[in-house]
C-alpha cells in the first residue's frame, strides 16, 4: 500500500485484541479529503473495531493513528478534531427528544444555556434533508422505529462540521429511498472535502458511492483498491477468501392446510385488517419500507405486542427478533445457554443434551466459536445472529417468523442463513419472512404481501418483477 502525503486520516500497524481474540492484526488504512472509502469484510473481520479506534471509543494495543499529522485521542478529543461517527447500533438516548439527541454533548448554547429554539430549527433542517418528517424533532427517541433512529444518528453526525465522517453500516435497515437520500447527503459532504469511511454489507452500494474499497479479512487488510477496479464478485471473494458459487433459489413445496391463519388483525395507528395464511413448507413474506408496520404485524402475530382485534390461529411458533442485540442475545451468557433457552422441557435441566444440541447447531450452522461454553458477547454480529436463529430451530417449530434475518450479516453468512431457511422450509415448517431486503424477499418467498401504511396493499407470487413489488411498497403507482 502506498502512503500518500495528502492523506487526511492515517492509520499504521494497528493491532487490537480482546482477550484471546485478535480483532485487528496490523492494519494500515488511510482516508483522503473528499474521498468516500468503503470498508468491507465478513462478520467479525474487524471493521467496527477499526472504527472505534478512529473515533476514540477504543484504544489500539499497537500502531499509530493520526488526523492531519496529529495523534488521535479519546472520544472527546476525536469529536473536537472533527471525527463524527455513526455507530453500527445507534447510540441514542430514548428518553430525550430527537432534537436533543442530535446535539447532545455539543449543545447549541445561548448565555450558557441550551438554545432550544435554535436546536429545534437546525434539527428540523437536518431531518428534512435526510427525508424524515420534521414533526419528529420534538418526539421522544424511544417512540421511533429502529430505522428512524438510525437516521437520527446520521443527523447527529452531520450536525457539526466534520472532517471525517464514519458510517458503520448505516444502510443495513434503511430502504432504498432512504439510502438514496443518505447518499445525496454524503456527496454534499464529499464535495466539501470531508473524508468518509463507509462500512456496508450491501456490496452493490459500493459502486454507487465509494471511491475506494478496503477489504478486511480476519483483522488484516487483504485489498485496498479504487472501487472501479473491483467487481462485486471479486470483493465478495476477497471477503470470504474463496470463490462463491451462485445460489439457485429452489422453490419450496407447500403442502396441506395453512398452519398460520391471521384474520382481520388490527392495532390502532399501526396496522389495519391484516389477513394472511401460511402453509407448511411455504415462505410468505411481508415486505414493506421501514415504518410500514411489517415489524409490528409480525410481533403481534407472535404475541409479544398487542393487537386490538382480529384472530391469529397458529401452531407451535418461534420468532427471530429484528433487533439482535436488544431482543435476541443474552449477552453475558454462553453460546450453549443462548441456543437452548427456548427449548427447555420439564423440571430439570438436561445439561448433556443441551451441550449436544449446541454442538450440533454450531457445526450445522458453521458458527465461529471455540465451543458452547464461549460467551456469546465475544462472537461477531453475524455469528451471534446465527446463534439466535439456531435457538428458534432447536424445537422444529411449525411456524417460524423471521424478522430481518440477515440484517448486518456478511454475504457469506447471509447465503448460509438463506440455505438454512430453505432447509427448514423443506422439512415442512411454515415461514413468515419480514424483510426490507428486496433481493432476499424475491429469492426466498413463495408469496409476497406488500405492506404500506399498515395495510396489505398488494400480493405477488414468486417470479413477480422486482420493480413491481418495490413500486407497490413505495406507493408510487
Amino acid at each position: 500500500m502506498t502512503t500518500t502525503t495528502d492523506a487526511l486520516l492515517t492509520l499504521t500497524g494497528i493491532r487490537k485484541h480482546y482477550g484471546g481474540v485478535y480483532a485487528l492484526q496490523g492494519v494500515d488504512f488511510e482516508v483522503r479529503p473528499g474521498e468516500v472509502h468503503g470498508l468491507v469484510g465478513a462478520n467479525g473481520a474487524g471493521k467496527s473495531t477499526l472504527i472505534k479506534i478512529v473515533s476514540g471509543a477504543e484504544k489500539a494495543d499497537e500502531g499509530t493513528a493520526s488526523l492531519n499529522g496529529e495523534a488521535l485521542g479519546d472520544t472527546v478529543k476525536a469529536l473536537r478534531a472533527g471525527i463524527a461517527t455513526v455507530y453500527q447500533d445507534p447510540q441514542l438516548f430514548g428518553e430525550l427528544t430527537v432534537a436533543e439527541n442530535v446535539f447532545v454533548g455539543r449543545e447549541l448554547r445561548r448565555n450558557y444555556l441550551v438554545d432550544w429554539r435554535e436546536q429545534q430549527r437546525r434539527a428540523t433542517e437536518l431531518l428534512t434533508s435526510l427525508g424524515l418528517s420534521e414533526k419528529l424533532a420534538g418526539q421522544r427517541v424511544a417512540d421511533l422505529s429502529v430505522a428512524e433512529q438510525q437516521l437520527v444518528s446520521v443527523a447527529k453526525a452531520l450536525a457539526h462540521e466534520a472532517r471525517i465522517l464514519i458510517l458503520d453500516e448505516p444502510s443495513a435497515i434503511l430502504t432504498d429511498r432512504e439510502i438514496e437520500t443518505l447518499f445525496t447527503a454524503i456527496r454534499t459532504l464529499k464535495d466539501r472535502g470531508v473524508g468518509i469511511i463507509y462500512v456496508s454489507h450491501r456490496l452493490d452500494e459500493l459502486a454507487q458511492i465509494t471511491d475506494r474499497v478496503t477489504v478486511l479479512r480476519d483483522g488484516k487488510v487483504v485489498a485496498s483498491e479504487p472501487t472501479k477496479d473491483l467487481t462485486v464478485r471479486q470483493i465478495a471473494e476477497l471477503m470470504v477468501g474463496h470463490a462463491i458459487n451462485g445460489t439457485t433459489a429452489e422453490a419450496g413445496a407447500p403442502q396441506g392446510e395453512p398452519v398460520l391463519r391471521v384474520e382481520d388483525l388490527n392495532r390502532r395507528n399501526r396496522f389495519t385488517n391484516v389477513s394472511l395464511e401460511v402453509r407448511p413448507g411455504e415462505i410468505v413474506s411481508l415486505f414493506g419500507l421501514v415504518g410500514s408496520g411489517t415489524g409490528s404485524i409480525a410481533r403481534a402475530i407472535y404475541g409479544v405486542e398487542p393487537a386490538d382485534s382480529g384472530t391469529v390461529r397458529t401452531g407451535q411458533t418461534a420468532m427471530l427478533p429484528g433487533d439482535r442485540s436488544r431482543q435476541g442475545v443474552f449477552a453475558t451468557k454462553t453460546v450453549g445457554f443462548n441456543i437452548s433457552i427456548a427449548s427447555l422441557k420439564g423440571l430439570w435441566l438436561k445439561r448433556k443434551q443441551e451441550r449436544r444440541t449446541a454442538i450440533e447447531f454450531i457445526e450445522r450452522m458453521q458458527i465461529k466459536t471455540p465451543g458452547p461454553n464461549a460467551l456469546i458477547a465475544t462472537l461477531s454480529g453475524g455469528n451471534q445472529q446465527k446463534v439466535v436463529l439456531a435457538r428458534q430451530l432447536v424445537e422444529r417449530p411449525e411456524v417460524l417468523v423471521l424478522e430481518e434475518p440477515t440484517q448486518g450479516v456478511d454475504v457469506g453468512a447471509k447465503e448460509e442463513i438463506h440455505g438454512l431457511v430453505r432447509d427448514i422450509v423443506g422439512q415442512g415448517t411454515a415461514v413468515l419472512l419480514v424483510s426490507s431486503d428486496l433481493p432476499e424477499v424475491m429469492s426466498l418467498a413463495e408469496k409476497i404481501l406488500v405492506v404500506r401504511g399498515g395495510r396489505i396493499t398488494a400480493r405477488f407470487d414468486r417470479g413477480a418483477a422486482q420493480a413491481d413489488v418495490l413500486a407497490a411498497a413505495a406507493g408510487d403507482e
Binding site: 472527546v76 469529536l79 430525550l96 447532545v104 450558557y112 441550551v114
Partner: protein, 316 residues
C-alpha cells in the same frame, strides 16, 4: 426538551384531594401552626431529595445519605457547642463536611464503575463508623440555638414560612432550572439513559457523576443543619433510615429509578405527600403505627397512576 408534566400533575391532584379532605375532616389542618410544622419537617428530606433526584436521574443512587447526615450533624453540633461558631460559618462547615463525603462517593462511583448502590452501601457503613468515632460514646446536648434559624420554631420562620422550607424550594427551583436548561444538566439525563453512548457523545461522564454526588453531599450538609436546628440534641441514631425516606420522596415524585427520567418538582411534591400523610394520621387521631401503612399505600397509588399514564402513552 422532554415532556415531564405527568407525575407532577397526578401528585398535585392527589395532594389537593388529600388537603381538601383533611381541611374538611379536621378543624386544624389548615391552621398555620400545622402547615408550618409539615413544611419544616419535610424540609431536610426535600433538600436531600433535590440532590438525590439528580443522582437517580444518572441511574445512580446514594443510600449513604443517612450516615453522612450523622457525620455532619455530630461535627457541626460539636463545633457549635465547643466554639463560638456563628450561623453562616456553621452552615458552611456543614456544607463542607457534607461535600467531602459526597465527593468520596462520587469519586468511588465514577471511577469504580460498579453500580452506585454497592459503593454507597459501603460508605453507608463507613460513614456511620466515622460518626460513631466522633461521637465517642456521647450524644451532643446543649447545642447553642444558633441553627434554630433553620429549625421549626419562631426563629426559623419569616413571614410565617419556615426558612428551611424556603431554602428547599429555592434549591429545588435552581436544580430544576439547571437540569432542564443547562447543557451539563441535560447531560445527566443522557448519562442515566445510556452511559456508554454518553461517553461516545463526548459527555464528561466522570466529571458529571462526581458532581452530582458531591452536590448531594453538600445538600446533606445543609439538611443536617436544619435537623440540628429542629432538634437540638444530636444522638448516635441520627439519620438512620433517612435514605429510604428520601428515595421514597424521589420515586413518588416520578423519577425513574432506572435513570434518564425525572424531575425535582416531583420530588418536592413527593416529600410533601409523605409529610402530609404522617401528620394527618396524628391529626385524625389514628394509631401512629398505621402511618407506615398509609405511606406504603400512597407510594403505590402515586406510582400506579404514573404507570397507567405511561402505558396509555405507549398505546397511542
Amino acid at each position: 426538551m422532554t415532556k415531564t408534566e405527568g407525575q407532577e400533575v397526578v401528585l398535585i391532584a392527589v395532594l389537593a384531594v388529600l388537603w381538601l379532605a383533611l381541611g374538611f375532616g379536621t378543624d386544624t389542618f389548615f391552621a398555620a401552626a400545622n402547615l408550618q410544622n409539615i413544611l419544616a419537617t419535610v424540609a431536610p428530606v426535600t433538600i436531600i431529595g433535590v440532590g438525590m433526584t439528580a443522582v437517580i436521574v444518572t441511574a445512580g443512587i446514594d443510600v449513604s445519605v443517612g450516615s453522612a447526615l450523622a457525620v455532619v450533624m455530630v461535627v457541626v453540633a460539636q463545633m457549635l457547642r465547643d466554639t463560638e461558631l456563628a450561623l453562616v460559618p456553621a452552615i458552611l462547615l456543614g456544607l463542607g463536611v457534607g461535600g467531602v463525603l459526597g465527593a468520596i462517593n462520587g469519586v468511588l462511583v465514577a471511577y469504580g464503575r460498579v453500580h452506585a448502590i454497592i459503593i454507597t452501601f459501603g460508605t453507608l457503613n463507613i460513614f456511620r463508623f466515622v460518626a460513631l468515632q466522633i461521637f465517642d460514646g456521647k450524644e451532643v446536648a446543649g447545642v447553642p440555638a444558633i441553627l434554630e434559624f433553620l429549625g421549626g420554631g419562631a426563629e426559623g420562620r419569616s413571614f410565617g414560612i419556615p426558612h428551611a422550607w424556603l431554602l428547599a424550594i429555592l434549591l429545588a427551583a435552581g436544580m430544576w432550572f439547571y437540569m432542564r436548561h443547562a447543557p451539563t444538566g441535560r447531560h445527566l439525563y443522557a448519562i442515566g439513559g445510556n452511559a456508554p453512548a454518553a461517553r461516545l457523545a463526548g459527555i464528561r461522564v466522570t466529571r458529571r457523576l462526581v458532581g452530582v454526588y458531591t452536590i448531594t453531599g453538600v445538600l446533606v450538609g445543609l439538611a443536617a443543619c436544619c435537623v440540628i436546628g429542629g432538634g437540638g440534641l444530636v444522638g448516635q441514631s441520627a439519620g438512620t433510615g433517612l435514605e429510604l425516606q428520601v428515595i421514597a420522596a424521589v420515586v413518588i415524585g416520578g423519577t425513574s429509578i432506572l435513570g434518564g427520567r425525572g424531575s425535582v418538582l416531583g420530588t418536592v411534591l413527593g416529600a410533601l405527600l409523605v409529610g402530609t400523610v404522617t401528620s394527618a394520621v396524628t391529626l385524625l387521631g389514628w394509631r401512629s403505627e398505621l402511618t407506615a401503612l398509609f405511606i406504603g399505600v400512597f407510594i403505590l397509588l402515586a406510582v400506579g397512576a404514573d404507570l397507567i399514564r405511561e402505558r396509555r402513552r405507549r398505546r397511542l
